[in-house]
């Protein structure tokens, strides 16, 4: 309560009031919004207001917006056509208008107000705590593993088949095709795919086989080429690394698909790995690979594409199995710690889901209060 009072006092101290028009900083933003308040007009002919803004005294006021109701006394200035940014000095003028849009009276002008960015976005407090918990758990389990405790990871069939798939490609003298999908580096699935590429490329290098990595995005291409190069180095076969194994095709979805399908038909890879972010091209790729008789292992977190992979691939990593794959393959203690931490987080969420649902049911039958819904709303910040 004390914090709220101080915040309110601070908010008031950061407002500019002049001539009945006040300006306040919009809380929890990057300085791109301001709140303008005024006293409603007593003119009975008024049908609304014009909101004028002045960014530069030399340029004068310009019409920012029209308010259609005379009862309105608040306007939030957030318009991409007239963007605000932190540090901008602006002032506002409110004019009452008639039904014919004639200006009736000037209600006032605010003094110059400087927009500012909030240091902390209070609406994301729950996200902050969730992040802290997640990071805390990961650090705890990393520490636990470093002390020598081993962590169990359950069997993932698609990943157990990777060895067999790479071995088959070696025996047949054909390449392994690794498709990272249409994602960018900001996609978690692409990051997971790049993580899996390392162990796969290392295995390919150890078996003295060939890996082909066609790329959709230039940034992903630079990352995958570095990963494959590094994998060949780790396998002790830097001489076997051929930079042409990893290549960029096109940033156009279906041009990329046409080219990868062509590669599948001409190079006839023995193993196709589709791991990453996929869209409408998933079935086109997997179906073509199926026709060539290749072993296919797919994995994505794109829910709409998973059914296509399930029907046309030998093994499919569903959603989070893709994220767990890099830990599973490398058995890296740090990655295993993240898996354990994620499981604990899932457990916490499950407890939250079930307990709040039970509380809600009990509330319906016994307590009959809206406190439960208010509790959930407060926690998730839902209006």
């Amino acid at each position: 309560m004390k914090i709220l009072t101080i915040s309110f006092a601070l908010l008031l101290s950061f407002s500019a009031v002049s001539g009945g028009v006040s300006v306040e900083d919009f809380p929890n933003d990057d300085g791109s919004s301001l709140i303008v308040r005024w006293n409603s007009t007593v003119n009975t002919e008024a049908a609304g207001y014009y909101v004028y803004r002045q960014d530069n005294p030399e340029d004068g006021y310009f019409l920012l917006s029209r308010i259609a109701s005379p009862a309105e006394t608040l306007f939030v200035d957030y318009d991409p056509r007239y963007p605000l940014s932190a540090g901008m000095n602006v002032s506002y003028k409110i004019v009452a208008i008639s039904h014919e849009e004639e200006e009736l009276e000037i209600l006032g002008e605010s003094s110059v107000f400087s927009s500012s960015a909030s240091f902390f976005n209070g609406t994301k407090t729950n996200t902050f705590f969730a992040t802290v918990i997640a990071f805390g758990l990961i650090l705890y389990f990393i520490n636990t593993i470093k002390k020598g405790k081993s962590l169990f990871i359950r069997k993932i069939a698609g990943l157990d088949a990777l060895d067999e798939a790479v071995g088959r490609a070696t025996e047949m003298g054909r390449p392994v095709l690794y498709v990272t999908g249409l994602g960018y580096m900001e996609d978690i699935a692409t990051v997971a795919s790049v993580n899996i590429l390392g162990p796969v490329a290392k295995k390919v290098a150890e078996y003295e086989s060939t890996i082909l990595v066609p790329n959709f995005d230039p940034i992903v291409y630079t990352v995958t080429s570095e990963v494959v190069k590094e994998a060949y180095l780790e396998a002790g076969r830097p001489d076997a690394y051929n930079p042409d194994q990893v290549f960029f095709i096109s940033e156009h979805q279906f041009a990329y698909v046409a080219a990868v399908n062509g590669i599948m038909l001409r190079e006839k890879p023995a193993t196709n790995l589709f791991l990453g972010m996929f869209y409408a091209e998933s079935l086109l790729l997997a179906e073509t690979g199926n026709q060539t008789g290749a072993i296919q292992i797919a994995g994505t977190d794109a829910v709409t594409q998973l059914p296509f992979f399930v029907t046309s691939c030998d093994y499919t990593l569903i959603g989070e199995e893709l994220y767990a794959a890099s830990a599973y393959l490398s058995r890296d203690p740090v990655l295993c710690a993240t898996i354990k931490a994620q499981d604990i987080e899932k457990g916490l969420l499950m407890i939250l889901l079930v307990s709040l649902s039970i509380l809600s049911i009990l509330n319906v039958f016994f307590f009959k209060s809206d406190i439960v819904w208010r509790l959930i709303s407060a926690f998730f910040r839902v209006e």
């Binding site: 978690i188 630079t222 156009h252 046409a258 709409t304 899932k346 809600s360 319906v364």
Partner: protein, 215 residues
């Protein structure tokens, strides 16, 4: 029947048919269409990047900052531009390690920036939508919501990786994968319908725009 007189419609129809020839087997016509498609898309992408990124976000701001003697502004644009240019060191084997700097920066940036939206959309919004609120035994939608809750909890069990899937955990996770497969079946049917509509669109182009058979 009224054949199209537009050369572009003929080219589009020819390329459509050459791409469809893939359904028979790989052939020179398909390869021709594939290479035209890839080449055209790469050329188009380069033009887009040049006109919509390089010029407005690098060229013009650098020029303006230089003309206005706005040195902080110049540095503000020049630093990321120089970092981006480090990618070109991939062409020089001895200095190619410099390309790792922008890669590391991009990876770190994207991993960091995706934390908050991932938690909000993948966790909070989903959990909030799954919690039973205002359960009404006489309403069918409440029972559907309960089924949804059971489905989510059992599916979460399937995605426990650090627990052996035996006993109650194994049974619950098996129930969870049933829910997942039912959802996949529904999604499959829905998406196939959308794909069929794409095919219909292409056939309409061939029969209406090109051959003029359909009115």
């Amino acid at each position: 029947m009224q054949l199209s007189t537009s050369i572009w419609v003929w080219i589009a129809a020819f390329l459509t048919l050459t791409i469809y020839s893939f359904l028979y087997k790989d052939n020179p016509l398909y390869r021709f269409a594939e290479h035209v498609f890839v080449g055209a898309s790469v050329g188009w992408s380069i033009a887009i990047v040049w006109h919509m990124t390089a010029i407005p976000y690098i060229g013009i701001p650098l020029r303006d900052a230089f003309v206005q003697r706005n040195w902080p502004g110049l540095i503000y644009v020049a630093i990321p531009t120089l970092l981006g240019c480090l990618y070109f060191f991939r062409f020089f084997p001895k200095q190619s390690w410099l390309a790792r700097w922008p890669i590391a920066l991009m990876m770190g940036y994207y991993c960091g920036i995706s934390i908050s939206p991932s938690i909000e959309t993948n966790i909070f919004t989903q959990v909030q939508g799954t919690i039973l609120t205002g359960f009404n035994p006489t309403s069918l939608s409440s029972w559907w919501a309960l089924l949804l809750l059971i489905g989510v909890v059992s599916t979460l069990f399937y995605f426990f990786f650090s627990l052996k899937h035996e006993g109650i955990v194994g049974k619950t996770s098996r129930l969870g994968i049933w829910f997942v497969m039912i959802a996949f079946g529904a999604s499959f049917g829905y998406t196939v319908m959308a794909r069929v509509s794409l095919l219909i669109g292409r056939i309409q182009f061939l029969l209406h725009d090109w051959l003029g058979i359909l009115k």
